[in-house]
Every structure is written in structure tokens, then in C-alpha cells.
């Protein structure tokens, strides 16, 4: 055990600098929130973690929505920047994160030797901001893949489901697409090479619309795949596929994503022109 000693001036200065840097980081995360420009559709996305590749998710979501020039995507790089201030004027939120701290701490250094501890996610403040903005302000929400495993009952209630864990990663067929709903109308059965087939139980079938179901090829499990519902003034779409980049590369899923974003925003759904990246 180290003997107790008075901190040296150098150590005190160093400690002070570290504290100041941490405080500045949080402050700068809040200050980094830019006001929405006139005519802009603001989309905030927080996607990716240890199990789910943030790089490909961001690339594909940007590509899917790229034909919409007035839609601006704000990808959150560290969870402490996912603040009420960021959400307060967002039109659409896209999440694909389970509940758990950022796997690696964020750094803006070009070369990193050691990283800071990852920011916590999801916090009470973040949970409250999502609920408030969806139900009171009418923000749309695409709750993708592992979002159902935040471990927060209020978030599950907002999604309208009780989560069920996936099993082995395997090929997954998307089927029973709802022919009546604009998000899935006219889209035929398709499959993903590999995915985690999450499942969920709908809490209130009377006000939830099933968009599609999935079938896991290896274990033949039938599961809920997509659904939507109104929550207060906002709209929520749950899309459970989305583990690997394979999923976001499927043209049919890209189209579902495109349509779901428009539906959650209460906008007319234009034909999907196809992404700029395939």
C-alpha cells in the first residue's frame, strides 16, 4: 500500500487538468448540438456496439436515406452526447443499441494508445428524453435490432413489446409481410444470409400492427420481426433484423427502412430510389 502523502503541485495540476478535460468533454458534447436549419429534417442515430458494427450501420443508413437531401443525419459517437438537447428538435430517432456502456471510450485523437472508459448508456435522462420527445412532441422512432434489450421497462413499454432473446446466428427468412401497411405493402418474402433473430411479444395487440414475421432457418423458430404503433403524439416502428451489415445490404430491407422512416415521420412515402451505395 502506498504511504499517504500530500499531493505535489505537479500532481494537483495534473489532476485538475484531467477533471477539467472531462468536464469540458461533457460540456462540449452538449455544446456540439447544432440548431436545426429551416426546412431540415433532423435525424439522430445511435447505433452500434461491441456486437454490432457501427461503421457499416452508419454507412448503410446514410446510404439508404441519401436521396433525401434535406434530411440531415446526426450520428452519435459517444453516448454522453446523446442528450435531451440533441433530441429536443429531432424529427426522427434511430436506435440500434442495447443497454450497456460504450464498449470503448471515445477519443478525437488520430492515434489512440489508451482509451477513456466508455460512456454509460442508457441513462435515466436519455430514457426520459426519448419518451418525452416521442409521446409529447411527436418525434418518430425507429427502434432497430438490439434496441429491445435496453433492460428498461419504460423503453419496452414505449416500443410496445416484451423482448425475447435471439438464438444462434443463422440465416433468417422475412415472411408474412403485411400487405395492407404502407411500410411493407408489395414487398415479397426475402432472407438474410445471417442475422440474430430476436423475438418479442406484443403488449397490446389492439393498437399494434405487425409488419412482418421471421423464420430462423436452422432452428425453425417463427418470430415477430417488425411492428408499428402510435405512442402519444409520436410513431414507433420496431425492426428486429439488423445484426450484421448483410441485413442492411438487402434491397428489400433498405426499402422497409426507407418507408418506416417516412411513416414514423408521418410523411408521404415516396418510391424508394435505391441507395447510393450497395
Amino acid at each position: 500500500m502506498e504511504p499517504l502523502q500530500n499531493p505535489s503541485r505537479r500532481k494537483a495540476l495534473k489532476t485538475g487538468l484531467v477533471t477539467a478535460a472531462a468536464t469540458t468533454a461533457v460540456q462540449s458534447a452538449r455544446a456540439a448540438v447544432r440548431s436545426k436549419e429551416p426546412g431540415e429534417t433532423k435525424i439522430v442515430a445511435i447505433m452500434g456496439d461491441y456486437w454490432h458494427p457501427a461503421v457499416s450501420q452508419e454507412l448503410h443508413v446514410r446510404a439508404i436515406l441519401s436521396p433525401l437531401k434535406d434530411w440531415k443525419l446526426y450520428f452519435v459517437q459517444r453516448s454522453s452526447a446523446f442528450t435531451p438537447e440533441l433530441l429536443q428538435d429531432a424529427d426522427l430517432l434511430i436506435t440500434a443499441r442495447y443497454g450497456g456502456a460504450d464498449s470503448i471510450g471515445w477519443s478525437d485523437e488520430p492515434v489512440v494508445v489508451s482509451r477513456p472508459k466508455g460512456d454509460p448508456y442508457m441513462t435515466d435522462e436519455q430514457e426520459a428524453a426519448i419518451i418525452e420527445n416521442v409521446t409529447k412532441r411527436g418525434m418518430g422512432w425507429l427502434a432497430v435490432h438490439c434496441t429491445l434489450f435496453t433492460g428498461r421497462k419504460a423503453i419496452e413499454d414505449l416500443m410496445g413489446i416484451e423482448p425475447i432473446l435471439h438464438q444462434e446466428i443463422q440465416p433468417v427468412v422475412v415472411r408474412d409481410l403485411n400487405p395492407e401497411h404502407p411500410i411493407t405493402r408489395g414487398i415479397d418474402t426475402f432472407f438474410f444470409n445471417l442475422d440474430e433473430q430476436f423475438d418479442a411479444e406484443i403488449k397490446d395487440p389492439s393498437r399494434t400492427t405487425v409488419l412482418f414475421r421471421t423464420l430462423a432457418v436452422h432452428d425453425k423458430r417463427d418470430a415477430l420481426g417488425g411492428w408499428c404503433l402510435e405512442q402519444g403524439r409520436g410513431r414507433v416502428v420496431g425492426l428486429l433484423p439488423g445484426h450484421y451489415q448483410w441485413t442492411y445490404r438487402m434491397p428489400q430491407y433498405q426499402e422497409i427502412f426507407w418507408r418506416a422512416a417516412h411513416w414514423a415521420l408521418k410523411r408521404d412515402i415516396p418510391p424508394f430510389p435505391g441507395p447510393s451505395m450497395s
Partner: protein, 154 residues
């Protein structure tokens, strides 16, 4: 004579009340279980069908992975790999998808999960509604649909 009769009646009444309290305590302290509607309730050791019961003696529940002579006070489940759930950390487990051995596990900490459970069998000492403990029974875990360790309130 009358006084003796009254005394005897009083003692009998107290004994009956005490028995009632003991029975009530035993059943209240028990772990609540529920059989699956499709359960055959065949004891894996004796091959005999066991009677329906809704209570198990607290502390008597054990899980078995591959062998009935190796009792575990935990079970394994698949999440991002094999994980372990200890009975002491559990509040409740409720079967969700029998075909895939998927249970909703609620932890005393407030957390929950709905994974596939790896352990295949369970044993416990059944407790009758009268609070009487029976012989230990060994069953397929799939024969049950609920194990509820929470204290019973009412």
C-alpha cells in the same frame, strides 16, 4: 370437572391454531411452481407419475445438466455465450417458448433475460396445500412452466 374440560378445550384450540400457523408458514414460505399443460409429470428416477402440486419446499430446487446425480444450484443459459444463473440470484423463471427451452428469467436485482436454458432437469420437494413436505421428485425442466421464488404475499 367443568374447569378441566374447559382447560382441555382451550389447549386443543391453541394446538389447532398453532398447527394452522405452522401450515400457513410452510405454504407461504414455499416456492411457487406451475406445471406445463402438456407435462407428463413422470419422475425421472422412479418412472411414476407424480401428483399435481403448486408448491416446492424453499431451498429444495436443484437443476441438472446431464446427470441426475449431479445437482446444481444454478443453471446455464445462452446469451452472448454460456452464462450462469444462480438460484440465490433469481426471483422467477417463466417458460416462454417450450420448443426452444426459452425462459424469461427475472433476477432479484431487477434485471431480466429471455434466453435458452441449457439445464434439462429439475428436482424439488413438493409441499401439499396442507403444508406437508413429500419425497423429492425429479422431472424434465420442460414439465414446468413457472418457478417463482418470491415471497408469497396474502
Amino acid at each position: 370437572m367443568r374447569r378441566r374440560m374447559l382447560r382441555l378445550a382451550g389447549v386443543a384450540a391453541i394446538l389447532v391454531m398453532m398447527c394452522g400457523v405452522v401450515v400457513d408458514a410452510q405454504t407461504k414460505d414455499a416456492v411457487r411452481i406451475a406445471f406445463d399443460d402438456q407435462a407428463k409429470r413422470v419422475d425421472l428416477r422412479t418412472g411414476k407419475t407424480i401428483p399435481l402440486c403448486t408448491l416446492a419446499e424453499r431451498g429444495s430446487i436443484r437443476f441438472y445438466l446431464n446427470r441426475l446425480d449431479r445437482a446444481d444450484e444454478f443453471f446455464h443459459f445462452y446469451h452472448d455465450g454460456l452464462r450462469t444463473a444462480r438460484i440465490t440470484d433469481l426471483e422467477q423463471m417463466e417458460k416462454v417458448q417450450p420448443r426452444f427451452a426459452i425462459w424469461r428469467i427475472r433476477f432479484a436485482s431487477g434485471g431480466k433475460n429471455t434466453p435458452r436454458v441449457q439445464h434439462k432437469a429439475v428436482s424439488f420437494i413438493p409441499v401439499t396445500a396442507e403444508g406437508k413436505a413429500g419425497e423429492r421428485v425429479y422431472l424434465r425442466l420442460d414439465d414446468l412452466k413457472l418457478i417463482d421464488w418470491r415471497e408469497q404475499v396474502n
